[in-house]
Amino acid sequence: MGDDTPVAVLSSRNRLICDYFRQSFAQVTNPPIDSLREAAVMSLETCIGREHNVFHETASHAYRVLLPWPVLNYVKYQTLLGLDQRYYRNVRFSLNYDPESLGLRRALENLAEHCVTAVQSGATIIVLSDRDISRDKVPIPAPLAVGAVHQGLLKAGERPNANIIIETGSARDPHQFAVLLGLGATAIYPYLAFQSINQQQETGALEGDPIQLRKNYRRGIRKGLLKILSKMGICTMASYRGSQLFEAVGLAPEVVDLCCPKVSSKINGAGFAEIESDIRKVSANAWVEQTRPIRDGIYRFMYGGEEHAYNPDVVMNLQQAVASNDWSDYRKFADSVDKRPTLAIRDLLALKPAAKPLPLSKVEKAEQIFPRFDTAAMSIGALSPEAHESLAVAMNRLGGRSNSGEGGEDPKRFNTERNSRIKQVASGRFGVSAHYLVNADVLQIKVAQGAKPGEGGQLPGHKVTVETPPHHDIYSIEDLSQLIFDLKMVNPRALVSVKLVAGAGVGTIAVGVAKAYADLITIAGFDGGTGASPLSSVKYAGIPWELGLAETHQALVENNLRHKIRLQVDGGLKTGLDVVKAGILGAESFGFGTGPMVALGCKYLRICHLNNCATGIATQNKTLREKHFHGLPERVMNYFGFLARDVREILASLGAHRFTDIIGRSELLEQLPGKTAKQQALDLRPILASAATRNQFEPYCTEASNPPFDQGRLNQEILAAAKDALERNEAWSGQFGIHNYGRSVGATLSGEVARLHGREGLQDGQIRLNLSGTAGQSLGCWNTPGISIHLEGDANDYVGKGMSGGRIVLTTADVHRERARRNVICGNACLYGATGGELFANGQTGERFAVRNSGAHAVIEGAGHHACEYMTGGTVVIMGPIGPNLAAGMTGGELFLLDPNGEAERYLNPEFVEASPLEEQQFDAPRRRLKALVTTHVSLTGSEWGRKVLESWELMLSHWVYVIPKNLAASNDISQQDVPLRLVKA
């Protein structure tokens, strides 16, 4: 349930200019930032005043005013205007112009010219205001005004000498602020938003002190802006301002060239004439006294408001069809979708039926169509178990695939018809273990999600999961390639899929993903996603999949990669016509989210985030699940049965025998003229041309998989040596040399153990792998119970990533042991997402140690930045230096720090945790646990430093700091109990 309304250019209503701009977001090429947990790196600080040459130290550098964030309140706004006029002279320009004597284009050009002249003659603050409204004038849309002035100043070389302050009634939500700032505004005074708050306070709609309410609003906008910046991986407002990090859907080149030349706009669209005509309509209407404010139904359906793809008729017709399993009922549903007013780009593309249609019997059978259908990722935390299982059962019976979503899956479902054949690996890594991974046919890495690219979900804690943005092991395409390799090593039989969101440049990213040896790419449109997404992401991020899909298809074909990889599309697909059009634009596989949900009984309530879903689907509430969920797998099967028939009938009408006959055949589509002036201004030829790109291979996947160049030789050798022992459940040990190109070593072994022996794995220490040398990345990733890996030497990043049991011991060669505690023995993001097992490292680790650890125990001798972020379980002992932002967002587990220099106080992120001297702990249990772990560490690694710590245990005791989450500290649970640690027989 992402956005089911038309993008601005397709809408038959008057939409704000901001709506044409879609936010850019980070996927693969750079990571999004977690603006909450890593707030320390984020800043919206804004400077007012002229910029000067930094190499030229003069007093004038001091004439700068610093604002904490660029949203002004009345006092700040007035203060800015009243600053010393020698240094902060302001000139005010009205955005209202007379449309009869001046066109929008001329008005913008004049405005920019006047601003440049003003700055050249000494003005520093340019105030643009749309406040002085009058009947015969209309306002220039604020984003266009800001953009044109910013560009004008840039061209004249005057931008650093000026600040653009925009006083506007059109900025209300974070996206609207972001557009203004991204197009070049320095600061914004949203007078109408404040007045609306005042009015609502007066009527009682809002309660409280109006000053506080307006403050809350500004804070809300601040957080929204931080989110938008971090989604793109940007830390500071100074880098964001003027960055034009948007993609325009449906703006004419004349507008883009004048106001935001760096914004990509591919399919033409509304020009100055169309925009001006919209503004005039809005203005004319506003001056009619009896007109009430329009309820526009943008967020949710309202009669007479914006069109919604899942309007009540569509939902009801579909539910009727799957209940009756009557083809005529399905036709009624399909007609209510296929014949709707233009709502998606594909609605402007019509099929050209063949002169000689085929009889239906000549078209491939439904059974050959079903494998092209997947249900989209919806996690077990978001859905009730019943709904989740119904989807899995339906897809397995049909021969399609259901998706576990993130959050893991109950192992009881593995090897039954309730198993999800697609298992998702998302940033949270909830429940991702070797056992989970080997029980899948497809492993999907969710890089981004349609409704909320660059973000996690918005499910409240009480509904189960908390998702957050970055994959801590993906900061570049190389990292993604490594993760794909990790997955292929642990489950060589599975296809690895990467889910991307349509956005400018997605084709290039997809090529990178294909070269990283993914087998499948999913392109999600802005209309994909859940009802549990932040509104500003639902509405303003991502673009229609028609654009992203065609671009991706073209990029893959041009790089001779298309035939090696399956291309899936996901986003608002409902009927056979949608499927066929997507096929023509380059897809061969199709993800369905909302359709099957509605078939199960979802009524599109858009309250998924509240846990009170009355249809028992998107809720964990027991009563609702038990008494009010009536979703049968048969209904989902009926839906897909209809879809397959619908697809086959359309294929027959196109004269196509097989689905693959239409992939990339964009000559089968023609652009319809469209009803509104804006629709008529669109040019969809670029989409059709992209889809039609050809090379010497087929335009669809013809290969079984996309095997990596690195075949994982060492993993093969180890498995060959240990295979008999694994099958007979015997003890085994082996010795191997390792080099830094030996990646993901141990993963294949772990996969085999999980396959043969399930989640419980083998007896502790039953399989022992002795390695010496320098390990490549991901040593011991997905390690399972029963496997001990002992490495003498050192390791790269991701040691023990996703391990669920067993042990990894990193030791330093005897000769260097004295200096081991000062040596970094393993790289970044070790133990990321681990759920169990132990890691002992005779040395320091890199950054982001034990992020999202939920059960592993570890002893290390130093850590970098962000250690133990989001940790929810397990015990980590750090006997050495630590870095900033320690234990950010840590809500479970415990942390022991040997901290003689008092660094903990400086580096700890105290939001969720509290630190106290270990000595002062009331109960002895934590001290006993610590000593046992350190003793084991010494016995396994031979750590010199550990030995010294043990020898002077009583003396050093006062230097230990004990860190636990505040909620646990209050309950005292963890400190009282002896948590059973599995300790090693030395």
């Binding site: 349930m1 009896q290 309530l605 846990n611």
Partner: protein, 477 residues
């Protein structure tokens, strides 16, 4: 003031209709059977609304009321704003709250209807408007710019009142003509007081007059004033005069008497209760009679329940199909049953039985339902199932047909063969005479009050559009 919103109220709190008066009172008194909600009760029930992403209630409602929005306001105790919002889409919300068949419209569409019990939308709507009026609230027309137009509205029923309301809110001056002494048309006379008390319409009259609507009552077109005179007096006309011709039955024995016409029966009761002295509608008292009502719609229910209150000896309703297939509101049927009406379903009347020129019974035959290609099951007689039910008074309530007055033609309003006013396809509600508009039952055929309101509101917008275009000519004239 506002309380913390409970997202699980629909689970923890069951649907509770307002309390009803005890049966003893209900069976004897002509007054609304529901007591009003208390503020607490209304808020508790309003809070059950899920505020769905797809407001099915709003979708199903013919006037598309902003139901979730005003439920939320009611839940927060912001009654005046709620009343304001109710009036944005509906001209007579307090009437619809009482007599709309919510169980076939908004409440049937409510997401909670399956498994939880729908939100009591109708009762809350009634509460909001009654409470707002009680607190002195009146529609705020201070921002309205007066326009130099005058529109004549014939018929003060739901369509006419809705049209008058919309036009007034747009600054148009309005005169409403009606032949009865009270406004409301069938709302006042046809609908008995146990569903809608006359005082409600009297209050609405006061509100409309306060807003500037001028009423000319006891004024019959064609008698007191001629239609073409109206044409000269106003810039545009609107007709909403309903359908009054009862659907006739023809059964052997009808000519021998014992038949009470449904509408006369209902209007006579109101006429009598309020001493209105409307000629032609005497009080028909069925006390002590064995009353039999034929038909299954809302009028039939009004008749049986009126007869109960008149102390009839027995009251029975005979309907050709089964209960599920009744065209009226199931809620009304269940009220009638509780109040003591007996139902004879699947029964087709055959003939009237008289003894000594007095009606004594009705011969019926049982029916069974068979599928038909019209979509609705067709009753088929079961042979040999004939029987006689005792009856001394018989009321036919088979609905109403168009009854276009003869003068319609003289002012250029065309009707179709069934007598319904033909719509020009230019503007919604515009008749074949471009200056004359019409809506309600006379256009659509017998239908709900709320559909008449919906159509009339749309027609009012058409009138404004029409006058805007025509204004230059009007000024010249």
């Amino acid at each position: 003031m506002t309380r913390k919103f409970d997202h699980f109220a629909f689970l923890s709190r069951s649907r509770e209709d307002p309390d009803v008066f005890p049966l003893k009172v209900r069976r004897s008194e002509f007054r609304e059977i529901y007591k009003p909600y208390s503020q607490e009760e209304a808020a508790d029930q309003a809070e059950r609304c899920l505020d769905c992403g797809n407001p099915y209630c709003e979708w199903k409602c013919p006037v598309h009321n902003y139901i979730p929005n005003w439920l939320k306001l009611a839940g927060e105790g912001r009654i005046l704003e709620a009343a304001e919002l109710c009036h944005e889409t509906n001209s007579l919300p307090e009437v619809c709250g009482r007599i709309c068949p919510q169980d076939r419209l908004c409440e049937q569409a409510c997401t909670l209807e399956t498994g939880f019990g729908a939100v009591t939308i109708g009762a809350i709507e009634r509460y909001i408007v009654d409470e707002a009026f009680k607190q002195g609230w009146r529609p705020d027309l201070s921002h309205v710019r007066t326009r130099p137009w005058s529109v004549g509205i014939v018929g003060a029923g739901p369509a006419g009142l809705a049209c008058a309301d919309v036009l007034t809110r747009n600054g148009v001056s309005v005169t409403v003509y009606d032949r009865y002494p009270e406004i409301g048309g069938l709302l006042s006379f046809g609908i008995p007081d146990f569903k809608l008390e006359l005082s409600v319409m009297r209050r609405r009259r006061e509100v409309l007059e306060g807003a500037g609507v001028h009423f000319r009552l006891n004024c019959e077109i064609g008698t007191d004033i001629q239609a073409h005179e109206l044409e000269h007096m106003h810039d545009a006309l609107f007709f909403g005069i309903g359908t009054y011709q009862p659907v006739e039955a023809s059964l052997p024995g009808m000519e021998k008497g014992g038949i009470v016409p449904a509408l006369e029966f209902l209007i006579g009761q109101t006429n009598h209760m309020y001493q209105l002295d409307i000629p032609g509608f005497p009080h028909i008292n069925l006390a002590g009679e064995h009353v039999m009502v034929l038909g299954g719609g809302d009028t039939a229910m009004d008749c049986v329940r009126t007869a109960i209150r008149q102390k009839a000896a027995s009251v029975q309703c005979v309907y050709r199909r089964n209960r599920e297939n009744m065209p009226g509101s199931p809620r009304e049927v269940s009220h009638a049953m509780k109040e003591g009406v007996k139902f004879e379903f699947n029964a087709q009347p055959l003939s009237l039985i008289h003894q000594n020129r007095k009606l004594t019974g009705l011969e019926i035959a049982k029916t069974r339902l068979v599928a038909s290609n019209t979509g609705r099951a067709r009753p088929e007689l079961i042979e040999g199932s004939e029987q006689v039910l005792p009856a001394t008074a018989l009321i036919f309530a088979f609905g109403y047909r168009p009854s276009p007055p003869s003068w319609l033609e003289t002012i250029g309003i065309a009707t179709d063969e069934s007598g319904l006013v033909r719509m020009d396809d230019h503007l919604p509600g515009q008749t074949s005479n471009p200056a004359i508009f019409a809506a309600g039952d006379m256009v659509r055929g017998s239908d709900l009050v709320v559909t008449a309101i919906a159509d009339a509101r749309e027609a009012a917008q058409s009138i404004i559009q029409y006058l805007e275009v025509k204004e230059p000519q009007l000024r010249r004239a």
